[in-house]
Amino acid sequence: MSKVEEIAKGVLAGDKRSIAKAITIVENKPEEAQRLIAAIYPHTGKAHIIGLTGPGGAGKSTLIEKMVREYRRRGKTVGVIAVDPTSPFTGGAFLGDRIRMQELTMDEGVFIRSMATRNNPGGIAKATKDAVKILDAAGKDVIIVETVGAGQSEVDIVKVAQTVVVVHAPGLGDEIQAIKAGLMEIADIFVVNKADRENADKTVIDIQAVLQLDDRVKAWNPPIVKTVAVTGEGVPQLLDKIEEHRQFLQRELLQKRSWEKAQAELVEAIRDKVTSSIIEKLKREKRFEKILQQIVNREIDPATAAEKLLNQEME
């Protein structure tokens, strides 16, 4: 067995060392990464993937720590990928998100990995998507991706997460502008963190005002949840909303599937009916046997014959 296959096998068994090594591979070795992902891919698709984004200082890391605790209380295993920016000047990165999550480190049902953007624009690293697949294949029920403190263009999280949570907090200044500019379209749920501050309701109203600008008819209207991450207040409600969104997605998917199935059946039924009615008509008019004879005599090929008959019918 090659090293990559061995690591893939370890990932599927939920072995933490293998998970860690696998993430290093997808960060550094594109060719081996492809083999690794190919090996684990059939085992992905079970986890619910949550993206947390929002301006720096909103309290994303602290909120994640409390979310993980609540998921653990609910019996779920959790993977966390925390992305921090790489310095474009030195190529180095200071990955400090763990500081707020360190107490979770010893929990067997939790795996946390810090990741640098490596100058990938969009708020996540290039390898984040693959790291999510690795944690998914390793059997984590929930995967939370924390983006870099987002401005207006860090919206790549939508390509990775199924539920995007945009975290905001009162007193961060003009960041409501960022929500207007780019984050509004991607948010499935809004969080106003630090809700114990007196101007928190103003932030809620600001977000509501922004949401009202959007007059498209939507099947899902993003709720606004108030939290106090340091105490954990509002976190169970946030998880409930995330669960609601997950169920919404499943219904959507089911609906989409039944739609596709109905369409296939309808097309088939139409095809049957049209075909038999045309053939019956051709037979009645004795044109069917006539052209059949011509095909047998090699005077015309079947495709051209069919086209000719149909053209006559259409006229």
Binding site: R17, A20, K21, N28, T90, G91, L95, G96, Q102, A116
Partner: protein
């Protein structure tokens, strides 16, 4: 701007503070120096247990661990960390230490696998150079 070499593997470093120290100024200075030298530095904050440090090193798949300690508990905490690293199979990780560590303890620390000890006032360049030269060259 740095040139982004495709095959270049970033050195990942965990800067960890075991024990009950109440400040982390030195650890942060070293973390920043290593970052500025192009490394990816994971910092976990104060008051970490040996178990937390080793588990973090495992999950983050680091190449290097820098232990910073001021409390004087290094002779109790460092051997435990080295033991746990061995237990978890993290034997190729480069471990160095810094902080307030008396000269006479250094031979014993080196014996248990701490590869270098940097005292107060060590220029950060020296630490950066040491890590660049000694970080393991890994395949995975």
């Amino acid at each position: 701007m740095q040139s982004e070499g495709k095959s270049e593997r970033k050195i990942r470093v965990l800067i960890a503070k075991p024990g009950l120290d109440s400040h982390d100024r030195g650890a942060k200075v070293v973390a920043r120096a290593l970052r500025d030298a192009g490394m990816e530095v994971i910092y976990t904050g104060l008051r970490q247990t040996p178990e937390q440090i080793v588990e973090t090193a495992l999950q983050e798949d680091v190449d290097v661990i820098g232990l910073s300690i001021l409390s004087g508990a290094h002779m109790a905490l460092f051997p435990r960390i080295m033991e746990l690293l061995k237990e978890k199979g993290l034997t190729d990780v480069l471990v160095f230490a810094g902080g307030i560590i008396p000269e006479e303890d250094i031979p014993e620390l080196k014996k248990i696998g701490i590869r270098e000890v940097f005292g107060p006032g060590t220029p950060t360049d020296k630490i950066v150079k040491y890590v660049l030269e000694n970080a393991p060259k890994r395949e995975h």
